[in-house]
Protein backbone atom coordinates (compact mmCIF):
# COMPACT_ATOMS: atom_id res chain seq x y z
CA UNK A 1 0.00 0.00 0.00
CA UNK A 2 1.35 3.38 -0.97
CA UNK A 3 0.89 6.77 0.60
CA UNK A 4 -0.93 8.29 -2.34
CA UNK A 5 -4.29 6.90 -3.34
CA UNK A 6 -5.06 5.77 -6.87
CA UNK A 7 -7.11 8.93 -7.31
CA UNK A 8 -4.25 11.13 -6.12
CA UNK A 9 -1.89 9.46 -8.59
CA UNK A 10 -4.33 9.86 -11.47
CA UNK A 11 -4.87 13.47 -10.51
CA UNK A 12 -1.14 14.18 -10.38
CA UNK A 13 -0.50 12.49 -13.72
CA UNK A 14 -3.10 14.66 -15.36
CA UNK A 15 -2.06 17.86 -13.61
CA UNK A 16 1.67 17.32 -14.20
CA UNK A 17 1.05 16.26 -17.80
CA UNK A 18 -0.58 19.62 -18.43
CA UNK A 19 1.63 21.92 -16.45
CA UNK A 20 5.19 20.59 -16.17
CA UNK A 21 7.68 21.96 -18.71
CA UNK A 22 11.30 21.66 -17.56
CA UNK A 23 12.67 18.98 -15.31
CA UNK A 24 12.69 19.57 -11.59
CA UNK A 25 15.48 18.37 -9.32
CA UNK A 26 14.67 17.39 -5.77
CA UNK A 27 17.28 16.32 -3.24
CA UNK A 28 15.95 13.98 -0.61
CA UNK A 29 18.17 13.72 2.43
CA UNK A 30 17.95 10.85 4.88
CA UNK A 31 19.72 10.22 8.16
CA UNK A 32 19.72 8.13 11.30
CA UNK A 33 17.12 8.91 13.97
CA UNK A 34 14.67 9.89 11.29
CA UNK A 35 11.01 9.48 12.05
CA UNK A 36 9.63 9.79 8.54
CA UNK A 37 12.49 8.85 6.21
CA UNK A 38 10.83 5.67 5.00
CA UNK A 39 7.57 7.45 4.34
CA UNK A 40 9.37 10.27 2.57
CA UNK A 41 11.10 7.77 0.34
CA UNK A 42 7.80 6.20 -0.57
CA UNK A 43 6.26 9.60 -1.11
CA UNK A 44 8.96 10.87 -3.47
CA UNK A 45 8.98 7.61 -5.38
CA UNK A 46 5.25 7.76 -5.88
CA UNK A 47 5.25 11.43 -6.86
CA UNK A 48 8.15 10.94 -9.26
CA UNK A 49 6.36 8.00 -10.85
CA UNK A 50 3.67 10.37 -12.10
CA UNK A 51 5.96 12.40 -14.39
CA UNK A 52 9.34 11.81 -16.01
CA UNK A 53 10.12 15.50 -15.47
CA UNK A 54 10.55 14.96 -11.73
CA UNK A 55 14.10 13.84 -10.93
CA UNK A 56 15.27 13.12 -7.44
CA UNK A 57 18.54 12.21 -5.77
CA UNK A 58 18.79 10.48 -2.46
CA UNK A 59 21.49 11.74 -0.14
CA UNK A 60 22.74 10.74 3.26
CA UNK A 61 23.17 13.48 5.82
CA UNK A 62 26.41 12.01 7.06
CA UNK A 63 28.01 10.66 3.89
CA UNK A 64 27.10 13.66 1.77
CA UNK A 65 28.14 16.26 4.33
CA UNK A 66 30.38 18.09 1.91
CA UNK A 67 27.66 18.47 -0.67
CA UNK A 68 25.13 19.58 1.93
CA UNK A 69 27.49 22.16 3.40
CA UNK A 70 26.96 24.27 0.30
CA UNK A 71 23.27 24.57 1.10
CA UNK A 72 22.37 27.21 3.67
CA UNK A 73 20.20 25.01 5.86
CA UNK A 74 18.99 26.44 9.16
CA UNK A 75 21.31 25.74 12.06
CA UNK A 76 20.40 22.76 14.20
CA UNK A 77 18.90 20.54 11.52
CA UNK A 78 20.43 17.27 12.67
CA UNK A 79 18.24 14.65 11.04
CA UNK A 80 16.06 13.99 8.04
CA UNK A 81 14.00 13.85 6.07
CA UNK A 82 14.82 16.92 4.02
CA UNK A 83 13.29 17.50 0.62
CA UNK A 84 15.23 20.26 -1.06
CA UNK A 85 14.58 21.96 -4.39
CA UNK A 86 16.91 23.33 -6.98
CA UNK A 87 15.33 26.59 -8.08
CA UNK A 88 15.04 28.00 -11.58
CA UNK A 89 18.33 29.81 -10.88
CA UNK A 90 20.15 26.49 -10.44
CA UNK A 91 20.81 26.76 -6.71
CA UNK A 92 19.38 24.57 -3.98
CA UNK A 93 17.88 27.14 -1.64
CA UNK A 94 14.45 26.08 -0.48
CA UNK A 95 12.48 23.07 0.59
CA UNK A 96 11.01 21.04 3.40
CA UNK A 97 12.65 20.07 6.66
CA UNK A 98 10.43 17.22 7.74
CA UNK A 99 7.98 15.33 5.59
CA UNK A 100 5.65 17.43 3.42
CA UNK A 101 2.60 15.40 4.42
CA UNK A 102 -0.88 16.38 5.47
CA UNK A 103 -1.78 19.84 4.26
CA UNK A 104 1.85 20.54 3.39
CA UNK A 105 1.74 18.10 0.50
CA UNK A 106 -0.12 20.69 -1.57
CA UNK A 107 2.74 23.17 -1.13
CA UNK A 108 5.16 20.46 -2.27
CA UNK A 109 3.15 19.81 -5.44
CA UNK A 110 2.78 23.49 -6.16
CA UNK A 111 6.54 23.98 -5.77
CA UNK A 112 7.15 21.29 -8.38
CA UNK A 113 4.77 22.95 -10.82
CA UNK A 114 6.11 26.43 -10.17
CA UNK A 115 9.75 25.46 -10.73
CA UNK A 116 9.02 23.30 -13.74
CA UNK A 117 6.75 25.78 -15.51
CA UNK A 118 9.03 28.61 -14.38
CA UNK A 119 5.97 30.50 -13.32
CA UNK A 120 5.76 32.65 -10.20
CA UNK A 121 2.62 33.46 -8.27
CA UNK A 122 3.75 36.76 -6.84
CA UNK A 123 3.43 40.25 -8.25
CA UNK A 124 5.97 41.96 -10.50
CA UNK A 125 6.68 44.61 -7.86
CA UNK A 126 7.47 41.93 -5.30
CA UNK A 127 9.75 40.16 -7.79
CA UNK A 128 11.51 43.45 -8.55
CA UNK A 129 12.13 44.22 -4.92
CA UNK A 130 13.30 40.70 -4.11
CA UNK A 131 15.66 40.58 -7.10
CA UNK A 132 17.63 43.49 -5.70
CA UNK A 133 18.57 41.73 -2.45
CA UNK A 134 22.30 41.02 -2.38
CA UNK A 135 22.67 39.89 1.25
CA UNK A 136 21.78 36.37 2.35
CA UNK A 137 18.30 35.99 3.78
CA UNK A 138 17.23 33.04 5.88
CA UNK A 139 13.50 32.32 6.21
CA UNK A 140 12.03 29.58 8.36
CA UNK A 141 8.33 28.73 8.41
CA UNK A 142 7.31 26.37 11.19
CA UNK A 143 4.23 24.24 10.51
CA UNK A 144 2.24 21.25 11.73
CA UNK A 145 0.71 18.77 9.26
CA UNK A 146 -2.80 19.55 10.52
CA UNK A 147 -2.61 23.28 9.87
CA UNK A 148 -4.79 24.23 6.91
CA UNK A 149 -3.30 27.73 6.69
CA UNK A 150 0.35 26.69 6.60
CA UNK A 151 0.84 25.62 2.97
CA UNK A 152 0.11 29.09 1.65
CA UNK A 153 2.75 30.57 3.98
CA UNK A 154 5.28 27.95 2.89
CA UNK A 155 4.47 28.37 -0.79
CA UNK A 156 4.87 32.12 -0.53
CA UNK A 157 8.39 32.00 0.92
CA UNK A 158 9.40 29.29 -1.53
CA UNK A 159 8.30 31.64 -4.29
CA UNK A 160 10.56 34.30 -2.79
CA UNK A 161 13.45 31.81 -2.88
CA UNK A 162 12.76 31.00 -6.53
CA UNK A 163 13.20 34.67 -7.42
CA UNK A 164 16.57 35.20 -5.76
CA UNK A 165 19.18 32.60 -4.86
CA UNK A 166 20.29 34.70 -1.90
CA UNK A 167 16.98 33.96 -0.23
CA UNK A 168 16.96 30.62 1.60
CA UNK A 169 13.50 29.52 2.65
CA UNK A 170 12.64 26.32 4.48
CA UNK A 171 9.53 24.84 5.98
CA UNK A 172 10.23 23.18 9.32
CA UNK A 173 7.78 20.60 10.64
CA UNK A 174 7.59 21.54 14.31
CA UNK A 175 6.62 18.10 15.62
CA UNK A 176 9.51 16.31 13.91
CA UNK A 177 11.97 19.01 15.00
CA UNK A 178 10.93 19.78 18.58
CA UNK A 179 14.35 21.17 19.52
CA UNK A 180 14.14 23.80 16.80
CA UNK A 181 10.49 24.49 17.64
CA UNK A 182 11.52 25.04 21.26
CA UNK A 183 14.44 27.24 20.33
CA UNK A 184 12.16 29.50 18.30
CA UNK A 185 9.34 29.24 20.87
CA UNK A 186 6.81 27.98 18.36
CA UNK A 187 3.38 28.06 20.03
CA UNK A 188 1.30 28.72 16.95
CA UNK A 189 1.69 27.88 13.30
CA UNK A 190 2.53 29.01 10.73
CA UNK A 191 5.35 30.83 12.52
CA UNK A 192 7.67 32.81 10.28
CA UNK A 193 11.22 33.72 11.29
CA UNK A 194 13.41 35.91 9.07
CA UNK A 195 17.17 36.11 9.70
CA UNK A 196 16.52 35.15 13.32
CA UNK A 197 15.54 38.79 13.75
CA UNK A 198 11.97 39.37 12.67
CA UNK A 199 9.28 36.89 13.58
CA UNK A 200 5.49 36.72 13.29
CA UNK A 201 2.72 34.17 13.14
CA UNK A 202 0.13 33.62 10.46
CA UNK A 203 -0.34 33.12 6.75
CA UNK A 204 0.01 36.81 5.99
CA UNK A 205 -0.49 38.68 2.70
CA UNK A 206 2.41 38.88 0.27
CA UNK A 207 2.84 42.62 0.83
CA UNK A 208 3.11 42.25 4.58
CA UNK A 209 5.65 39.44 4.35
CA UNK A 210 7.72 41.46 1.91
CA UNK A 211 7.75 44.45 4.26
CA UNK A 212 8.89 42.27 7.16
CA UNK A 213 11.59 40.75 4.99
CA UNK A 214 12.87 44.17 3.96
CA UNK A 215 12.89 45.17 7.62
CA UNK A 216 14.92 42.09 8.54
CA UNK A 217 17.56 42.73 5.87
CA UNK A 218 17.61 46.44 6.68
CA UNK A 219 16.36 47.74 3.34
Amino acid sequence: MGILSKNDIEYLKKEFGKSLKNSVEIYVVFSDNCQYCNESKELIQEVASTSNKIKYKILDMNKDKDFLRKIKLPEGVDHGPLLLFKGQHGKINFGFIGIPAGHEFSAFIRDIISVSANHLHISKETINKLSKIKKPVDIKVFVTPTCPYCPSAVYLVHQFAMVNENINAFMIEALEFPKLADKYKVMAVPKNVINDKVEFEGAVPEQYFLEQLMLAVGL
Binding site: I3, L4, D8, Y11, L12, E15, K18, S19, Y36, E39, L43, I99, A101, G102, H103, E104, F105, S106, I109, R110, I113, S114, A117, H119, H121, I122, S123, E125, T126, T144, P145, T146, C147, P148, Y149, C150, P151, S152, A174, L175, A181, K185, V186, M187, A188, V189, K191, F200, E201, G202, A203, P205, E206, Q207
Partner: protein, 334 residues
Protein backbone atom coordinates in the same frame (compact mmCIF):
# COMPACT_ATOMS: atom_id res chain seq x y z
CA UNK B 1 0.15 6.86 9.62
CA UNK B 2 0.65 9.88 7.45
CA UNK B 3 -1.81 11.25 4.96
CA UNK B 4 -1.54 13.80 2.21
CA UNK B 5 -3.75 16.59 1.02
CA UNK B 6 -4.06 17.71 -2.56
CA UNK B 7 -5.71 21.11 -2.81
CA UNK B 8 -3.59 22.46 -5.62
CA UNK B 9 -5.04 25.48 -7.35
CA UNK B 10 -4.48 25.77 -11.09
CA UNK B 11 -0.87 26.38 -11.97
CA UNK B 12 -1.22 29.65 -13.72
CA UNK B 13 -3.17 32.69 -12.75
CA UNK B 14 -4.10 33.77 -16.22
CA UNK B 15 -6.45 36.47 -15.14
CA UNK B 16 -8.70 38.08 -17.65
CA UNK B 17 -9.29 41.77 -17.39
CA UNK B 18 -13.02 41.37 -17.09
CA UNK B 19 -15.39 38.72 -15.79
CA UNK B 20 -19.15 38.24 -15.81
CA UNK B 21 -19.01 37.12 -12.20
CA UNK B 22 -16.34 37.70 -9.56
CA UNK B 23 -16.78 35.55 -6.48
CA UNK B 24 -14.96 36.71 -3.38
CA UNK B 25 -14.35 33.71 -1.13
CA UNK B 26 -13.49 30.14 -2.09
CA UNK B 27 -15.32 28.14 0.59
CA UNK B 28 -18.40 26.00 -0.01
CA UNK B 29 -20.61 28.97 -0.97
CA UNK B 30 -18.10 30.45 -3.41
CA UNK B 31 -17.20 27.14 -5.07
CA UNK B 32 -20.83 26.17 -5.45
CA UNK B 33 -21.60 29.58 -6.99
CA UNK B 34 -18.71 29.09 -9.41
CA UNK B 35 -19.89 25.64 -10.50
CA UNK B 36 -23.38 26.92 -11.24
CA UNK B 37 -22.21 30.13 -12.90
CA UNK B 38 -19.96 28.12 -15.20
CA UNK B 39 -22.88 25.87 -16.09
CA UNK B 40 -24.68 29.05 -17.15
CA UNK B 41 -21.60 29.67 -19.36
CA UNK B 42 -20.55 32.79 -17.52
CA UNK B 43 -16.92 33.88 -17.18
CA UNK B 44 -16.10 33.29 -13.54
CA UNK B 45 -13.24 34.10 -11.22
CA UNK B 46 -12.95 33.04 -7.59
CA UNK B 47 -10.72 35.35 -5.62
CA UNK B 48 -9.89 33.84 -2.26
CA UNK B 49 -7.35 33.36 0.40
CA UNK B 50 -7.32 29.88 1.86
CA UNK B 51 -9.24 27.88 -0.72
CA UNK B 52 -11.78 25.45 0.69
CA UNK B 53 -12.87 27.85 3.40
CA UNK B 54 -13.54 27.34 7.07
CA UNK B 55 -14.70 23.75 6.72
CA UNK B 56 -11.06 22.69 6.33
CA UNK B 57 -10.80 23.43 10.08
CA UNK B 58 -13.25 20.63 10.86
CA UNK B 59 -11.70 17.31 11.75
CA UNK B 60 -14.71 15.36 10.53
CA UNK B 61 -17.95 16.32 8.78
CA UNK B 62 -20.80 13.88 9.03
CA UNK B 63 -23.80 15.89 7.93
CA UNK B 64 -23.19 16.79 4.32
CA UNK B 65 -25.71 14.59 2.55
CA UNK B 66 -24.23 11.88 0.36
CA UNK B 67 -20.72 12.21 1.77
CA UNK B 68 -20.80 10.68 5.25
CA UNK B 69 -17.75 10.86 7.52
CA UNK B 70 -15.55 12.96 5.33
CA UNK B 71 -12.70 15.02 6.77
CA UNK B 72 -13.25 18.77 6.52
CA UNK B 73 -9.99 19.01 4.64
CA UNK B 74 -11.18 16.61 1.95
CA UNK B 75 -14.63 18.16 1.66
CA UNK B 76 -13.03 21.57 1.09
CA UNK B 77 -10.74 20.11 -1.55
CA UNK B 78 -13.63 18.47 -3.33
CA UNK B 79 -15.46 21.77 -3.56
CA UNK B 80 -12.38 23.47 -5.00
CA UNK B 81 -11.59 20.69 -7.47
CA UNK B 82 -15.18 20.60 -8.65
CA UNK B 83 -15.07 24.31 -9.45
CA UNK B 84 -11.73 23.78 -11.18
CA UNK B 85 -13.24 21.06 -13.32
CA UNK B 86 -15.69 23.65 -14.62
CA UNK B 87 -12.77 25.93 -15.46
CA UNK B 88 -13.50 28.74 -13.08
CA UNK B 89 -10.38 30.92 -12.78
CA UNK B 90 -8.79 31.08 -9.34
CA UNK B 91 -6.79 33.90 -7.86
CA UNK B 92 -5.40 33.08 -4.43
CA UNK B 93 -5.11 36.59 -3.04
CA UNK B 94 -6.74 38.78 -0.44
CA UNK B 95 -9.19 41.31 -1.76
CA UNK B 96 -8.32 44.66 -0.22
CA UNK B 97 -10.87 46.94 -1.85
CA UNK B 98 -13.87 47.10 -4.11
CA UNK B 99 -15.67 49.97 -5.82
CA UNK B 100 -18.37 50.55 -8.36
CA UNK B 101 -17.32 52.31 -11.55
CA UNK B 102 -20.32 53.08 -13.80
CA UNK B 103 -22.10 49.73 -13.92
CA UNK B 104 -19.05 47.59 -13.24
CA UNK B 105 -17.12 46.58 -10.17
CA UNK B 106 -13.39 47.08 -9.66
CA UNK B 107 -11.83 44.64 -7.26
CA UNK B 108 -8.45 45.43 -5.81
CA UNK B 109 -6.08 42.63 -4.80
CA UNK B 110 -3.39 42.61 -2.12
CA UNK B 111 -0.67 42.68 -4.78
CA UNK B 112 -2.04 45.84 -6.37
CA UNK B 113 -3.76 44.26 -9.37
CA UNK B 114 -7.40 44.98 -10.14
CA UNK B 115 -10.04 42.73 -11.65
CA UNK B 116 -13.21 44.06 -13.27
CA UNK B 117 -16.53 42.27 -13.15
CA UNK B 118 -20.16 42.87 -14.10
CA UNK B 119 -21.46 41.15 -10.97
CA UNK B 120 -20.00 40.27 -7.58
CA UNK B 121 -20.89 37.47 -5.18
CA UNK B 122 -19.67 37.89 -1.61
CA UNK B 123 -19.00 34.43 -0.19
CA UNK B 124 -16.58 35.68 2.42
CA UNK B 125 -17.69 33.59 5.41
CA UNK B 126 -16.66 34.43 8.95
CA UNK B 127 -13.64 34.89 11.21
CA UNK B 128 -13.06 34.02 14.83
CA UNK B 129 -14.23 36.38 17.53
CA UNK B 130 -11.71 37.76 19.96
CA UNK B 131 -12.24 37.93 23.69
CA UNK B 132 -11.19 41.57 23.69
CA UNK B 133 -9.28 41.39 26.98
CA UNK B 134 -5.85 42.79 27.87
CA UNK B 135 -3.03 40.47 26.87
CA UNK B 136 -4.92 38.80 24.04
CA UNK B 137 -3.37 40.77 21.15
CA UNK B 138 0.13 40.77 22.60
CA UNK B 139 0.16 37.06 23.33
CA UNK B 140 -1.50 35.84 20.14
CA UNK B 141 0.79 33.18 18.76
CA UNK B 142 2.51 33.03 22.13
CA UNK B 143 -0.03 30.81 23.74
CA UNK B 144 -3.22 32.49 22.60
CA UNK B 145 -4.62 30.50 19.69
CA UNK B 146 -7.74 30.40 17.54
CA UNK B 147 -6.94 27.13 15.72
CA UNK B 148 -6.76 23.99 17.86
CA UNK B 149 -6.32 21.81 14.78
CA UNK B 150 -3.15 23.73 13.90
CA UNK B 151 -1.61 24.25 17.30
CA UNK B 152 -2.82 21.48 19.63
CA UNK B 153 0.21 19.21 19.04
CA UNK B 154 2.52 22.05 20.12
CA UNK B 155 1.10 21.81 23.64
CA UNK B 156 2.16 18.27 24.37
CA UNK B 157 2.16 17.63 28.13
CA UNK B 158 1.31 21.28 28.82
CA UNK B 159 -1.64 22.86 30.58
CA UNK B 160 -4.16 24.66 28.40
CA UNK B 161 -7.55 26.30 28.63
CA UNK B 162 -10.39 26.42 26.14
CA UNK B 163 -12.82 29.33 26.37
CA UNK B 164 -16.35 28.83 25.08
CA UNK B 165 -19.50 26.77 25.43
CA UNK B 166 -20.37 25.73 21.89
CA UNK B 167 -19.56 22.69 19.78
CA UNK B 168 -16.21 24.05 18.65
CA UNK B 169 -15.05 24.59 22.23
CA UNK B 170 -16.10 21.09 23.17
CA UNK B 171 -14.51 19.35 20.19
CA UNK B 172 -11.36 21.44 20.61
CA UNK B 173 -11.17 20.46 24.28
CA UNK B 174 -11.28 16.80 23.29
CA UNK B 175 -8.61 17.27 20.65
CA UNK B 176 -6.39 19.15 23.09
CA UNK B 177 -6.90 16.49 25.76
CA UNK B 178 -5.07 14.06 23.47
CA UNK B 179 -1.92 16.20 23.58
CA UNK B 180 -2.00 18.32 26.72
CA UNK B 181 -1.57 17.13 30.28
CA UNK B 182 -4.57 19.09 31.46
CA UNK B 183 -7.37 21.02 29.77
CA UNK B 184 -9.59 23.56 31.50
CA UNK B 185 -12.89 24.37 29.84
CA UNK B 186 -13.89 27.89 30.82
CA UNK B 187 -17.40 29.13 30.13
CA UNK B 188 -19.34 32.11 31.40
CA UNK B 189 -22.42 30.02 32.08
CA UNK B 190 -22.96 26.71 33.81
CA UNK B 191 -24.98 25.51 30.82
CA UNK B 192 -23.71 24.92 27.31
CA UNK B 193 -24.81 25.52 23.75
CA UNK B 194 -22.83 22.47 22.62
CA UNK B 195 -24.70 19.34 21.58
CA UNK B 196 -25.42 17.05 24.56
CA UNK B 197 -23.34 14.29 22.97
CA UNK B 198 -20.25 16.52 22.97
CA UNK B 199 -20.88 17.55 26.58
CA UNK B 200 -21.07 13.89 27.59
CA UNK B 201 -17.83 13.13 25.77
CA UNK B 202 -16.02 15.96 27.52
CA UNK B 203 -17.35 14.89 30.90
CA UNK B 204 -16.03 11.41 30.21
CA UNK B 205 -12.54 12.70 29.42
CA UNK B 206 -10.35 12.44 32.47
CA UNK B 207 -7.96 15.32 31.87
CA UNK B 208 -10.61 17.94 31.08
CA UNK B 209 -11.85 20.03 34.00
CA UNK B 210 -14.76 22.49 33.84
CA UNK B 211 -14.14 25.99 35.17
CA UNK B 212 -17.67 27.43 35.26
CA UNK B 213 -19.22 29.92 35.42
CA UNK B 214 -16.26 32.22 34.85
CA UNK B 215 -15.22 34.89 32.36
CA UNK B 216 -11.64 35.63 31.32
CA UNK B 217 -10.66 39.17 32.31
CA UNK B 218 -7.00 39.22 31.40
CA UNK B 219 -4.34 37.03 29.82
CA UNK B 220 -1.09 37.40 31.69
CA UNK B 221 2.48 36.57 30.67
CA UNK B 222 5.88 38.04 29.82
CA UNK B 223 6.70 36.56 26.43
CA UNK B 224 4.23 33.74 26.59
CA UNK B 225 0.95 32.97 28.25
CA UNK B 226 1.49 32.20 31.92
CA UNK B 227 -1.82 32.82 33.71
CA UNK B 228 -5.42 33.77 33.20
CA UNK B 229 -7.31 36.12 35.45
CA UNK B 230 -10.88 34.90 35.79
CA UNK B 231 -13.96 36.37 37.40
CA UNK B 232 -16.90 34.35 38.56
CA UNK B 233 -20.34 35.16 37.17
CA UNK B 234 -23.89 34.71 38.35
CA UNK B 235 -27.26 34.94 36.67
CA UNK B 236 -29.39 37.88 37.86
CA UNK B 237 -32.75 38.56 36.24
CA UNK B 238 -31.76 36.27 33.38
CA UNK B 239 -28.57 38.25 32.74
CA UNK B 240 -24.97 37.19 33.30
CA UNK B 241 -23.40 39.42 35.96
CA UNK B 242 -19.81 39.41 37.16
CA UNK B 243 -19.28 38.84 40.88
CA UNK B 244 -16.38 40.08 43.03
CA UNK B 245 -14.82 36.65 43.14
CA UNK B 246 -11.68 36.33 41.05
CA UNK B 247 -9.12 33.62 40.57
CA UNK B 248 -5.96 32.95 38.63
CA UNK B 249 -5.31 29.87 36.58
CA UNK B 250 -1.84 28.82 35.50
CA UNK B 251 -1.82 27.76 31.85
CA UNK B 252 0.63 27.53 28.95
CA UNK B 253 -1.95 28.18 26.31
CA UNK B 254 -5.50 29.40 25.81
CA UNK B 255 -7.71 28.46 22.86
CA UNK B 256 -10.50 30.90 22.16
CA UNK B 257 -13.73 29.46 20.77
CA UNK B 258 -16.32 32.11 21.42
CA UNK B 259 -18.00 32.16 18.05
CA UNK B 260 -17.49 33.90 14.79
CA UNK B 261 -18.24 37.21 13.15
CA UNK B 262 -18.98 37.86 9.47
CA UNK B 263 -16.37 39.08 7.00
CA UNK B 264 -18.49 41.88 5.65
CA UNK B 265 -16.33 45.02 5.83
CA UNK B 266 -15.54 44.86 2.09
CA UNK B 267 -19.22 44.58 1.26
CA UNK B 268 -19.97 47.44 3.64
CA UNK B 269 -17.36 49.61 1.89
CA UNK B 270 -19.31 49.10 -1.30
CA UNK B 271 -22.49 50.25 0.43
CA UNK B 272 -24.05 46.84 0.99
CA UNK B 273 -26.50 46.77 3.89
CA UNK B 274 -25.74 44.54 6.87
CA UNK B 275 -27.79 43.68 9.94
CA UNK B 276 -26.97 44.78 13.50
CA UNK B 277 -24.49 41.92 13.85
CA UNK B 278 -22.73 42.68 10.59
CA UNK B 279 -24.24 39.93 8.45
CA UNK B 280 -24.94 40.86 4.82
CA UNK B 281 -28.66 41.31 4.25
CA UNK B 282 -29.93 39.34 1.24
CA UNK B 283 -33.38 38.53 -0.11
CA UNK B 284 -34.44 35.05 -1.16
CA UNK B 285 -32.53 35.45 -4.44
CA UNK B 286 -29.35 36.22 -2.48
CA UNK B 287 -29.56 39.74 -3.85
CA UNK B 288 -28.19 42.58 -1.72
CA UNK B 289 -29.44 46.15 -1.80
CA UNK B 290 -27.05 46.91 -4.68
CA UNK B 291 -27.86 45.77 -8.21
CA UNK B 292 -25.49 43.09 -9.46
CA UNK B 293 -24.19 42.34 -5.98
CA UNK B 294 -25.09 39.06 -4.30
CA UNK B 295 -23.98 37.24 -1.18
CA UNK B 296 -24.05 33.61 -0.07
CA UNK B 297 -23.04 31.43 2.83
CA UNK B 298 -22.01 32.20 6.40
CA UNK B 299 -21.52 35.91 5.74
CA UNK B 300 -25.25 36.42 5.09
CA UNK B 301 -28.09 37.10 7.49
CA UNK B 302 -29.93 34.10 6.03
CA UNK B 303 -27.24 31.73 7.30
CA UNK B 304 -26.36 33.48 10.52
CA UNK B 305 -28.51 31.22 12.64
CA UNK B 306 -27.58 27.91 11.04
CA UNK B 307 -24.14 27.90 9.56
CA UNK B 308 -23.63 24.70 7.64
CA UNK B 309 -21.93 23.65 4.43
CA UNK B 310 -25.15 22.39 2.92
CA UNK B 311 -26.76 25.82 3.30
CA UNK B 312 -23.71 27.69 2.05
CA UNK B 313 -23.62 25.50 -1.05
CA UNK B 314 -27.33 25.99 -1.71
CA UNK B 315 -27.08 29.74 -1.33
CA UNK B 316 -24.10 29.83 -3.67
CA UNK B 317 -26.16 28.11 -6.33
CA UNK B 318 -29.01 30.59 -5.91
CA UNK B 319 -26.64 33.56 -6.05
CA UNK B 320 -25.14 32.27 -9.30
CA UNK B 321 -28.59 31.81 -10.80
CA UNK B 322 -29.56 35.34 -9.80
CA UNK B 323 -26.39 36.77 -11.33
CA UNK B 324 -27.15 34.87 -14.53
CA UNK B 325 -30.71 36.19 -14.72
CA UNK B 326 -29.50 39.73 -14.10
CA UNK B 327 -26.82 39.55 -16.78
CA UNK B 328 -29.22 38.05 -19.29
CA UNK B 329 -31.82 40.76 -18.69
CA UNK B 330 -29.14 43.43 -19.02
CA UNK B 331 -27.98 42.00 -22.34
CA UNK B 332 -31.44 41.87 -23.88
CA UNK B 333 -32.02 45.48 -22.85
CA UNK B 334 -28.95 46.66 -24.75
Amino acid sequence: MISVSLATPPKEEKIKEHYDVAIIGGGPAGCSAAIYARRFMLDVVIISKHLGGLITDAEMVDNYPGLPEISGKELGERFVNHAKKYKADFVEKFVTGIKKVSDEFEIKLEDGRTIKASTVIFATGETHNKLGVPGEEELTGKGVSYCAMCDAPLFKDKIVAVVGGGNTAFTDAQLLAKHAKKVYLIHRRATFRADPIEVERVKATENIEFVIPYVVKRIIGENKVERLLLRKTEIKDGKIMETDETMELEVDGVFIDIGLRPNSLLAQDLGVNVNERGYIIVDEDMQTNIQGVYAAGDATDKASKFRQVVLAAAQGAIAAFSAYKYLKAKKTKK
